[in-house]
Symmetry: C2
Subunit: 327 residues, 2 copies
Amino acid sequence: MTDHSRALPRFEDIEAAAGRIAGQVRRTPVLRDETLDELAGCRLQFKCEHLQRVGAFKFRGATNAVLSLSDEEAGRGAVTQSSGNHGAAIALACRKRGIAATVVMPRSAPASKRENVLRYGARVIDCDTGQAARDAVTADVLRETGGTLIHPFNDARIIAGQGTATREFLQQLAEANQHIDTILAPVSGGGLLSGTALAAKSMQPDIRVIGAEPAQAADACESFRRGERITNVPIDTICDGLRATIGPLPFALLQRHCDDILLASEQQIIDAMRLLWTHLKQTVEPSSAVPLAVVLANPDAFADRNVGIILSGGNVDLDHLPWTANS
Amino acid sequence: MTDHSRALPRFEDIEAAAGRIAGQVRRTPVLRDETLDELAGCRLQFKCEHLQRVGAFKFRGATNAVLSLSDEEAGRGAVTQSSGNHGAAIALACRKRGIAATVVMPRSAPASKRENVLRYGARVIDCDTGQAARDAVTADVLRETGGTLIHPFNDARIIAGQGTATREFLQQLAEANQHIDTILAPVSGGGLLSGTALAAKSMQPDIRVIGAEPAQAADACESFRRGERITNVPIDTICDGLRATIGPLPFALLQRHCDDILLASEQQIIDAMRLLWTHLKQTVEPSSAVPLAVVLANPDAFADRNVGIILSGGNVDLDHLPWTANS
């Protein structure tokens, strides 16, 4: 039996995932804007995964993992720990397959996140704050149900699913006679960036793959530069989707396929988010703005390039926008 | 010489406009969202004209009108009065043709609107507030330059250009094997709605065409129901794109091709705008939310229907959102 937390996915797994999830996931549009190009000094193409179901690319990996379960495994249901977009994505993917989903979530998680998971019919199990409490409750649930754990990023099925966004992106560009020489994605646990890097380098070996990370959550950048996974970097960013630490499996892929990881400050991220709202007219969440922030903060690295950016998610609290005073 | 403020456009004019503006305007995407469908009790398809250049459908009509000028007319430049999206659209359309644009604008217009027009290289001429002062200054400019006046809606070239959005929308739906039985667009001066109605009824005679208007700016609805143009209806709406009064030429088309005009309250418009931001993840301006507000306010009229909605614009002040206290 494959250990999905150890076996590195290959490009064939992304191709297989694309076939498996077709019809379940949305083919999201690619957008661009001349004003942003002028500001950035390069040509930008945005792959709109915030317009994916549940409002994030996470639905691709979750759907691939859930559809990869055997009928016997599926009968016992899927289990995950995530208060964010992955939890909602697993919930919806399970509902679509008609199987049980259990999401272990700290009692302190915001009500909106809990509602999002419940809306798609998953069972929510409360736990205390902290990874140890979460792991203990998750182990109980797995024992009790015999269900399958689907980790948000340290899982080859998840990485392969996330990689389908880039496969689709490059296909859409080819259909439109467009071309990119650089692709950026945000990095947190690394599921999206490693899937992006694997897909991009397999399809277009000379492409440059750049991870984009908040300077105040720089564990992936630090790990990449030192050549070993560092997990004790302090994390304090408004990007609520980017607070996880890089996982071992994604890290191994990044070491092979990623060219660099660049950082952006909190203010640069907020400014980039506002530019995306103003000019691209997309309500993306802060995490989605990190790649544009990195491009604007490093003009020499991108001047006159054809740059692809994956907009990762659009789940944002409209009552607390980062540029509004007192929010 | 054709009087563009009197001759009713025909569907052939929309076809000709589509050919003329191809390559200049964006083919904007069509988006949908299952959560909005559930809330509305019908299947909604959104044509994203807020993703058009200058952030509004207005660029279609402006481009058609500017490209319709003879070389001799073009040499003397285009003139308009508009502090809103039409002014910016004329400015950019003229810059693209390489001709002069003059926009007459009240001194009281917000700085952001002025900057928007200046950014595209138009000349801005200040005038005092009020239509009489505006008309006097415009007449001076026309005399001085010999330029051509391009009215924002009471002009057959403008109406034909706006109608191309619906032509493209119905073509995109057909390509995707989708179908709508009802189409809604917001109404103000009536350029968009009359172009929408002409295109829709010409391409699909059994389609239902519904105008959507703020209850606090209900002159088009009132005019439509009484069968004569009423111009003294009080106007007090947050929809800054919908404060004009229905024009004679659009009104004549609406009487022939529109099935009804329905109203939404200010609160219904704000709620619908927030739903579009939350679920469709599009930063649309209040005017764009009126059709969805009308659908949600009249569930019986749309139950189980396949409904197309034109999202008209996305130019919104992110510092003053209507659901934020004290803004």
